[in-house]
Every structure is written in structure tokens, then in C-alpha cells.
Symmetry: C2
Subunit: 140 residues, 2 copies
Amino acid sequence: MAHTARKTPAPARRLALTGDLNAPACPSRGVLDHVTSRWGVLILVALTEGTHRFSQLRRKVGGVSEKMLAQTLQLLEADGFVTRTVHPVIPPHVDYALTPLGEEVAQRVGDLAGWIEDNLGRVMAARERVALRAPRRAPS
Amino acid sequence: MAHTARKTPAPARRLALTGDLNAPACPSRGVLDHVTSRWGVLILVALTEGTHRFSQLRRKVGGVSEKMLAQTLQLLEADGFVTRTVHPVIPPHVDYALTPLGEEVAQRVGDLAGWIEDNLGRVMAARERVALRAPRRAPS
DNA sequence: CGGTATCCGTACTGATACTG
DNA sequence: CAGTATCAGTACGGATACCG
């Protein structure tokens, strides 16, 4: 859909993403929500380091509940970003890993997450600056 | 915090982001949530095309309510990603634009959003494949 | 025009308990 | 170990009404 026809002709700006995501009903909204969800981001990033077991992820992604972890993993699996591999042994053993598709998103998500980590200082500084409530007026 | 000390020594993997975001209480979680919030993403992307007025954004980001738009803009302003410029005229005129900091995140957010738009087809295809519920077993 | 204030439903979230 | 089921709290999100 995105690469076939755009409803808005998109004014030829190269960085513009005017077409798709602005439509409230577009499926890409859903995918975006899954990927950028609270735990989705963290899970994708964690999986860039390789295959993980369920409990391994649970420990690694601090603060996530079993329920949310399972639920988010299901969503990511449904979107084709994550594979779930069941080893039929006792005790149970399940591995989660990124698909090729998943690695591509995870890379971008990781970029974003990494940027935030690296620039947290700048953001915190900006926060205090704004906290002083400098009511910027337009330069007359 | 992110660039000062890491609690986990981080095994020298270059793509690993093991340090910061995994801590439940780290401020970067908050920033990440703002940026990746439902409307945060869309607003940041919209602003990469330049300065926008309130109502302009409202029209552009399909489906957003006034409340959510205002609220999200406040959050992004507080984090130092967006400037709010009030022109003291009648009728009121307020401009929103990205700060340099904002342009850096917006670029990454845009990358992610763009990837999803461009690869929506692959994701939808993957969805149907998974919908067939191929219960992958580990290759014995 | 560009908001804020208020109300209110629901969807997300997290403990807890239980199953294979 | 790896989940699912159930339940209760919260906070998110939208509609409406009103102010500067």
C-alpha cells in the first residue's frame, strides 16, 4: 500500500512521510504501535543480542511482567518480527529470536533507543531550561 | 547516567544496549515513552517538514484530538524536542517547530516510521503466514 | 485560533493463582 | 520452565464545554 499508491501526492520532499501514517485507519499505525509499545522497543533491542529464552528476557528487560512479556512477544511474532521455537523437552524450553524482518526494524528501534541513551544528558538539561518556563515570544 | 556508569559491564558487544534502558527507573524510559507514544511519533514526523501551526498539525495528523495534540506537544516541548512560539496577534497564532535536538530524534523516528510504511507489505504477508499457525518445532 | 478543564469509558497493566 | 486465566486499579484517550 505504502509503496504502491499514495493518496496525497507527497510534494516530492525526500524526508517527507506524508502519505501513509497520517491516515487514521492505515494498518501501518498498528504495526507502529506494536513496535513502539512500551515493551516492544525493549524486547526488540534485547533480541538484537541474539536468541533468548522467556525467563532470560524477563530478567533482562527490567520491570516487565510475565503477562506483558508474553503478550508483546505474541504481537511481535504475529507481525513476523520474532520467531518462537519450542523445544519439546522437560522442563519446557522456548527460544525467541528475530526474523530477518525483525532485525531490520530492531536496528532502527535500537538506533532510536541508543540515541536517547547517549543524549539523555542533553534532554535532561533541556528539561530544566524549559522548567524555568521561558515564554518565548516571536521576535517582533 | 547512560554515559557515565553502566551497572552491567556490557560485554563489549557493539550493538548491545545492555546498560540503561533495562533499568526500570531510568529517566530514559520516560523520554522513550514520550517519543514513541502514539501521537509523539506522528507529530515528530510531521514537524520534520517544517514549522506548523496547531490546527495545521491537527489536520495533518489524522485522528488526533485537540487534547492529545496539546498534551503531546507539551511533553515534547518539555523534553526539549519542540519549540512553541506564540505570536501575540489576534487571532492567536502559535508555531511549533523542531529544536536541533528534536531534529535528531525525529530523523530516527522518521527512519523507523518510513521503514514500516515501505515494508508494510512484507509485514502483512508475514502476518498471514503466522495466522496459519505453523507451530515450529526445534529441528531435532 | 489555540488552547484548558472536566467528565467518563475502556484498554492497558500488573499481582496472583493455576496449568502443561 | 513457560506460560494462561482471572481480577482489580490506573491512566490513557476522546468528547464536550468553556476561556484568553
